[in-house]
Symmetry: C2
Subunit: 408 residues, 2 copies
């Protein structure tokens, strides 16, 4: 089954907002075994929307649109869909009741704008939207389907997963073989080096011929193997493991923090962080994962030398002698965090995220990372490329992977 | 000048990667006074790419493509562009030298794949790419331009800002009047309530008639006023200020953390954080801003009660009596952070980010936030909606805005 996505909204084409709705739906479409063949972003403009709808209905069986339904957008999308699918805008009692319920819950007064949300094309079936006021509309024509959803990510995610996906599943007796996937997370090897190995003579035929996706992430490389037959996929995955084992740090489509938490939990171990240049981002990556409180006790972000000395217990003379960005200071920070937070393990960072702060011999991107486990504390200096956000993210991910490897 | 963007890559349509390249270019195109009329994502498939290129060349003066150039992608994009613009693939010495330089710098051996990157269509002008191995290619036809850039965000950003944008500026004697913008950040009012006020009778005509964009962000609302005439824009902005003043917390297109840092810097004040449920994210938001070290000393992430008691100095009996998620504990955490980090101000959070952890009377999303300034510490309980990531982000932003307002 072929699917197209149309994201509607001036804000998407002005660069004020990143379209996260499309990748969210894309991964669920892929997981269902369907093919997303095209996605686009168009203005809140009747001609642009109509052209995109016509094109998408031509190239695919199902068209998903997001956005263009807000109370301040003049409901352009509803007018266009009415024009394309026929009929006229009519008042829908269920949508009106939903809008009233939500405004009553939030203690807000109804106004003419929000009341107009209850007008929907007569040619559509309205799907309940428990998460917001905008109607979700299902249209059918010539055996094809178009579903119009709100653009607010929280509402789109709620209605897509709870209402739209189940209806698409039951609509289509899906006789296609879904594509199965295996994921590997690698660190310390480039995309082209992996590809050279996987297309070379020493690579077994199953692995060489299987479809692969290379998905570079900040600080590591995600690789996906695809096949419809589970045995073929398992064999290729085993061969991949043999060829690439030394670079693999996880074997699931997880974030590095998730892989670390799983490992710590399996060992009944706890972790803390002491962060200078990463500024709390390692703690944030860990605590973004539900259940992290089972292994994570806490963190000290020591942006000032004062915090390093008086809270983490780094000797002042050590900083004076080596500088704050040094391997002994990072190691003392890691030890300090584990002592304060009473944890088995810890990671610490001290470096120069940029754009300022570089000193001779320590350019922007220089980060000392220390890892403490029950078998000792190890500290080393790394160099990361990119802007401030990239240096912070890469140094954070490196620290997580270093601890994960130290525990294996 | 009309612009279209084509982002090429299977990964974009499988949902493995969020396309951040398009919004990055979109905001710079808007800032230049040009119009981005369409953007789309297509597979690494010759037919899909060719169709998208034809369509984009028809509807716009400049077409920007990203991706489809990596060493493992078989250079499909180069073949398609060669077919569309004519000519054949030829070896380019400057690209080859660049690839060799980068591999030498990284200490990696050259391989056949990377060497093939030096093949480019004879119909293009090669633009230097100092940030990576993929060539940047500039094509012209019938007075229109197509530029093909790498898809790796770091390389795209570098080449687009340093090489492509200046060339577009000098190519086009831009006689159009660029659209000017004014930004306001609001908190405590809904999008539809703002729109009702701005379209009502009591709204002055200039403000009512000016083009506005509503850009909801996690935890606040960004509003943009647009006009080509600076005086008209200034007048509408002044009227907006009078009507909405109580909700406005910033008057620039900045992040809340940036607005807070600017205010603290102007007052020669410093800040620290004590975070439980936000897990270091407030510190991360602050330290993501270059120059934050001038006002930010550090943070304690106290995920365990032990850290709250022994590091932040929260009385154990206070936790036993009120629970960790309570206004007195949040206030004691804020005071503890300011004491430890020697700062004038601090914020603290203690709450339930979910999905687990709810207790009777304290559902998921309940967060106590304390704000300390030189005039005292104030602590209150808030309720945030959404999943774990959304609760963390909204509570973090709320804490930053609360401190900002307390300082005004």
């Amino acid at each position: 089954m072929n699917v197209s996505i149309i994201a509607i909204g001036d804000e998407l084409l002005l660069g004020n907002v990143v379209d996260t709705n499309t990748p969210f739906m894309a991964s669920l479409i892929d997981a269902a075994g369907w093919q997303l063949v095209h996605s686009c972003q168009v203005h809140d403009d009747p001609c642009d929307i109509l052209f995109a709808v016509k094109e998408a209905m031509r190239r695919s069986d199902v068209v998903l649109t997001t956005g263009g339904l807000g109370p301040t957008k003049d409901d352009i999308t509803k007018q266009v869909l009415c024009e394309f699918f026929g009929g006229k805008l009519v008042h829908d009692a269920s949508v009106a009741a939903n809008v009233e319920r939500i405004f009553a819950e939030r203690g807000l007064p109804m106004n003419a704008l929000t009341a107009s949300q209850a007008m929907v094309p007569s040619s559509c079936t309205v799907i309940p939207n428990a998460s917001g006021t905008a109607p979700v509309m299902w249209f059918e024509r010539d055996g094809k389907v178009l579903v119009s959803m709100p653009g607010v990510p929280r509402e789109m995610r709620y209605t897509f997963t709870r209402e739209v996906l189940p209806r698409l599943h039951s609509l289509i007796a899906n006789t296609e073989h879904p594509t199965l996937h295996r994921f590997f997370l690698l660190e310390g090897i480039s995309e082209s080096a992996v590809d050279t190995k996987l297309s070379g003579e020493e690579c077994p035929a199953e692995l060489r011929d299987i479809h692969k996706a290379y998905l570079p992430q900040p600080g590591y490389l995600k690789i996906r193997l695809d096949h419809t037959d589970n045995d073929t996929l398992a064999k290729a995955a085993q061969q991949f493991e043999q060829l690439m084992g030394q670079y693999i740090f996880a074997r699931e489509d997880v974030k590095p923090a998730e892989a670390l938490i799983d490992t710590l939990r399996a060992r009944s171990m706890t972790v803390s962080t002491a962060e200078s240049c990463t500024g709390g981002n390692i703690a944030h990556l860990i605590t973004s994962i539900a259940g992290s409180s089972a292994v994570f006790n806490g963190s000290v972000v020591s942006y000032s030398n004062d915090m390093k000395i008086n809270v983490l217990g780094v000797p002042a003379e050590m900083i004076a002698e080596n500088g704050a960005v040094s391997t002994p200071v990072a190691a003392a920070m890691a030890d300090g965090a584990a002592r304060l937070a009473h944890t088995h393990c810890s990671v610490a960072t001290s470096g120069i995220a940029g754009p300022g702060g570089a000193t001779p011999g320590k350019p922007v991107g220089t980060v000392c990372i220390a890892v403490k486990t029950p078998s000792g504390t190890h500290s080393d200096t790394y160099r990361f490329t990119g802007n401030r956000a990239e240096v912070i993210e890469r140094a954070s991910v490196k620290a997580l992977i270093l601890l994960l490897r130290a525990l294996k």
